[in-house]
């Protein structure tokens, strides 16, 4: 149905409940809302935080392209994507995808599709801040994330 998505790139935390409410409030044709929240894991206590760098302008443009493909493939009523940048402490949220649809399968699949493409197509990079104070590494891209795209071809 190609409904436009709401896309925000921001340093601030987001309010998941408010984002769900914004998508479904006043709409009585929505039967299914799926949210995905991606959080900063502490890697067994070794990680204090992640520093997330992004390509301003391209980040919005690329996520819009991914969202356009998702809303063309599945009958989604509405979608919201919020991706944070800057320093994110362990346990804090990094990314939120919310999809609303008449039926559950479209909501689930569109959200999973968004996350798979955000992982390896959206221009963000993560650097570790280690808990022992040592200089962290840039997080390597995972082959499994690239492989995850195959199922959508």
């Amino acid at each position: 149905m190609g409904q436009p998505a709401t896309i925000r790139i921001q340093a601030e935390p987001f309010d998941t409940a408010a984002e769900i409410e914004a998508l479904s409030a006043g709409r009585h044709d929505v039967g299914a809302v799926v949210t995905f929240s991606g959080l900063c894991r502490d890697e067994a206590g070794t990680l204090a935080a992640l520093e997330i760098e992004h390509y301003p302008g391209m980040a919005e443009a690329e996520i819009t392209r991914i969202a356009d493909e998702a809303t063309a493939r599945w009958p989604v009523s509405a979608m919201t994507v919020v991706h944070r940048y800057g320093r994110i402490e362990a346990g804090e949220p990094i990314v939120l995808v919310v999809t609303a649809a008449e039926h559950r399968q479209a909501a689930f699949e569109a959200a999973a599709f968004m996350m798979d493409f955000l992982k390896s197509r959206a221009p963000f990079w993560k650097k570790e801040h280690r808990r022992d104070g040592s200089s962290g590494e840039w997080v390597d891209a995972k082959e499994s994330d690239e492989a995850a795209l195959e199922r959508w071809r």
């Binding site: 760098e53 991706h83 955000l118 390896s120 959206a122 221009p123 993560k126 840039w138």
Partner: protein, 83 residues
């Protein structure tokens, strides 16, 4: 054209962006990466494995065989780790 660098490409080259005028004959992304490697040790180090470098022209992903003619902005960066 403007080049913009991110993550460890930016750190290794030492600047976040710069304006360059590649010589004639630098036609594709692959040519551009090779030419940049000749500009100094920091470039050679950052771009040592060119196949690991991801490239966007005017903020859209492109392959290394893409022509660069007419590009206003070219981004060079490692594989992305979003989400």
């Amino acid at each position: 054209m403007k080049l913009v660098y991110f993550a460890w490409v930016r750190e290794r080259i030492g600047v976040a962006q710069e304006d360059v005028t590649p010589p004639e004959g630098v036609a594709t992304v692959r040519d551009l990466l090779e030419w940049l490697k000749s500009r100094g040790d920091e470039y050679a180090e950052a771009l040592k494995f060119p196949e690991a470098i991801r490239v966007a022209i005017n903020q859209e992903h492109v392959r290394h065989d893409e022509p660069i003619a007419g590009a206003r902005e070219i981004g060079l960066f490692p594989p992305m780790t979003g989400g």
